[in-house]
Symmetry: C3
């Protein structure tokens, strides 16, 4: 009931549309009915978001603004790896998103896509999709 | 198992208490037992939060402080619609909230209410309520 | 199907590793199979996060950076209790986290732990753990 897919990210900060991969995972699980899907990121410097899938500039602006809020170098940081900013972005974006499923189809808003948010790439990353069926 | 309600928001930034509408949706669904409810926003410039339901100044301060963090106009924004700030606020607040239900009743903390957070109003908005019953 | 545990926090801002307490709650519930656990905070000035469990400096840096984004005193705040900053941190961190369970075991990433995030301590706090079993 958990399906895991992997991806290779290519930049330090990147929002990757994984909507189709979530759909594919649900098909592989055999999620034909009603329920919910949990899209879960098992990393601490990446997160999952549901956001706009139309204008790519929304993602570009979002990553730019997050970078302003959480500058990569901060004089008071102590974490030896130097990627505190990535942890902050992941923490506020969220480790997972819960999306609705009806008759096996994702119920997303017109402009919504599901995004894997890389904040410390490039890396090879995993994403879990968990299916919770309605009790009949 | 999904119930959708609509609302008309009246300002650009606004936190609307939807706790009673979530309760009503659960009644209409016939959620008498134990489980969880997912309150889901199908928009990309609005979100759902669980926050303080006592002093309205908490909401006022929250919207004011979010506006400081994410100014509406930003010299580096490229998104043509000009509402990147609303997308940011929605992304960090969250697209959905999961709340607990016992014997058909929402299990909220003493000071908690469920809020629809409008960040690019006024608009007509939708909210989905999904009921996940415990397997008996 | 809901298990509640309490804790005493000791500072104003603090991230407390509750991973073992969540595991204990799942054992007490008798969660042997597959499903998901919702870790829910019934307070409005504290939240739940899934974050790095290795270097404690990540937590220290995170609390320091959140404090910079949301200074405790703000000249425009109106909330009489004076803890708007704590509400903001709670709102953006999130009221709950959903974690995956397989054969009764939490499926966390290598570096992930579950944290109760105190933003207005010290206080006595509660945390709910809700078990949602897969429908067999």
């Amino acid at each position: 009931m958990i399906r895991t897919f992997t991806m290779q990210t290519s930049r330090r900060d990147e929002m990757i549309d994984i909507t189709d991969r979530v759909r594919e995972a649900l098909r592989e699980i055999g999620a034909h009915g009603d329920g919910a899907a949990i899209v879960y990121c098992p990393h601490t410097t990446a997160g999952i978001a549901v956001q706009e899938n139309a204008d790519p500039d929304v993602k570009r602006d979002a990553l730019m603004r997050l970078d302003e809020l959480f500058p990569w170098r901060h004089p008071k940081d102590r974490h030896a790896e130097g990627n505190t900013a990535a942890h902050m972005k992941a923490m506020l974006t969220g480790t997972s998103q819960t999306v609705l499923v009806q008759e096996g189809r994702l119920i997303l808003g017109t402009w919504q896509g599901i995004y894997f948010c890389e904040f410390d790439g490039p890396r090879t990353r995993k994403c879990h999709v968990k299916w919770l069926a309605d009790r009949s």
